[in-house]
Amino acid sequence: MGNPGRDLKRVRLKLPATPEDIAALEPGMIVFLDGIVYTAREGAYKRVLEDGEPLPEGLAELSNVNFHCSPAAAPDGEGGYRVGGVTATASFRFSKWMAEWLERTGTRIVIGKGGMTREDYANILVPRGAVYLTTVGYGTGALLGRGIVGVHAVHWLDELGIAQAMWMFRVENFGPFIVDSDLQGNSLFASHGDRVNQRLEALYEGLKPPALHRYGETDDRRKEVM
């Protein structure tokens, strides 16, 4: 085989991304980013949305991209940080905070692992003009690490630790990412899941079910466990 993925569309976005740029993203496109990307996950969400801590000043002007990630980073001994690699963490766990977070921060691009459900896209991201990009493979930590050219700032490092702190990374040609959801709420993961599901019945044909079932078990493999 020649060059895998050569027919996929590619785009490079300057951050903060404009509404026009975001509207042009289609599920399955390959995206690279330039500008500032911030990390936030349960630690930061709880701090701001549940404990009432104010957001870092000027966040919306700096970045509208929330990366669900924790870096492998360590202090460099000169007051800065050495970032080895970054890899996304699974996003579906964060949906209960996302609506308020998007509203409070003006975030328009969410990056993570595995996407969110169709319902979350329809109810949370689409009404707030936001799309979802997924990291590739899980994870291309070294490639993404190369794309981070510096740490613009880090918030709540002492309180939340390296993994949960809010890192603001300066990035260049940061990627690859794949567009999962667009502004209409279409989802690449969901559409591929549908295609995979079509084969499942045939796959289990002739295999008898086990003697002992599990409490609460579903036998419907079209369903997701998340």
Binding site: G5, T87, V136, G137, R146, H192, P210, V225
Partner: protein, 321 residues
């Protein structure tokens, strides 16, 4: 005589190698899968992973920033001499873990399960795990580290003898499909299956099968080896590739380990290693010299013994024949 300083050095070095360098057997397996993959997105993902591993090795940075839960498997030769004792060995493994966390760097993933406090060094209550085994007639110590993520891709189920191979196949498919969607299992992976033992042994055997055997290795029992081939094919026939995209790349290889179990039961566990398959082994010889490799060689004939005694492999095979 194997001093503690050699153990600490070996343990630190394998921490770095595991985090950064993709094992050759796994890389060869993935390259073979790219050639067969017809899904365009699936093929793109695999090609990106190959580029990622090249970047990791060139830059000496971790392949994946989720550097998993670093842990150890130690195989001690029956004739090995440790003047400082085993407590010193365990202390050296913990010290190497903390040092690697800062120096590689590894992500400080280990937190208390309830209070969520982080020592920022991957050391804590019951962490890192150290599993022990022994090897007759030799004077070296093998230390293997595995950095495996821990959230998705593993499951356990008590099946019964009447469920048979069908039951194992169904459970294998169930686990791969449940965690393969959206790629939560970080496939294509080496998949380990534990069959038998007690619940905990079953989990342990399956995990060791996934993490401590290399692509292409087969169980010495020819019928189990055939089942390994069959399950591998079954997994790759689901129609799912990396990230849950349409494709055929799910199982790089399948390894099964078995243990004698309760007469009424057939416990089964399934474990997926990940797209980084982070493992590295150091052999510390009696003179203190260290050799590094990526094949843990954990399941020796002695590990898989079935008889009461262990005199020679020939004697064992004639006793079980």
């Amino acid at each position: 005589m194997i001093g503690t300083d050699r153990i600490e050095k070996a343990a630190f070095d394998i921490m770095c190698k595991a985090a950064i360098d993709i094992p050759q057997d796994y890389l060869t397996g993935i390259k073979g899968m790219i050639d067969l993959e017809k899904g365009d997105l699936s093929a793109f993902v695999l090609q990106s992973m190959v580029e990622n591993w090249e970047a990791a090795t060139e830059d000496r940075r971790p392949m994946c920033a989720d550097t998993g839960l670093p842990r150890y498997y130690v195989k001690v030769g029956d004739k090995a001499k440790l003047p400082d004792g085993f407590v010193a060995l365990e202390r050296a493994l913990r010290s190497a873990t903390a040092r690697a966390t800062t120096d590689v760097p590894l992500r400080p993933n280990r937190v208390h399960p309830l209070w969520r406090n982080d020592h920022n060094n991957n050391v804590g209550l019951n962490a890192p795990e150290v599993e022990w085994s022994f090897e007759p007639e030799v004077d070296w110590i093998d230390i293997t580290t595995v950095h495996k993520g821990g959230l998705f891709g593993s499951d356990y189920r008590m099946l019964f003898p009447g469920d048979g191979i069908d039951g194992i196949k169904r459970f294998f498919l169930d686990t791969l499909i449940a965690f393969g969607k959206r790629g939560l299992a970080c496939q294509p992976a080496i998949v380990g299956v534990g069959v038998g033992g007690s619940k905990d042994t079953c989990m342990q055997l399956g995990k060791q099968a996934a993490c401590l055997r290399v692509v292409g290795d087969r169980n010495p029992d020819p019928k189990i080896a055939a089942l390994e081939d069959e399950l591998k094919e079954l997994g790759n026939n689901i129609g799912m590739g990396p990230m849950g995209f349409v494709g055929s790349s799910m199982v790089v290889d399948c390894h099964i380990e078995a243990g004698f179990t309760h007469t009424g039961g057939m416990p089964v566990s399934v474990h997926t290693f990940c797209l980084s398959s982070r493992r590295a082994t150091a052999r510390i010889h009696a003179d203190g010299s260290i050799e590094y490799r990526t094949d843990p060689r954990w399941f020796t004939p002695y590990m898989r013994r079935e008889t009461i005694g262990w005199e020679t492999p020939a004697e064992t095979s004639s006793a079980s024949a």
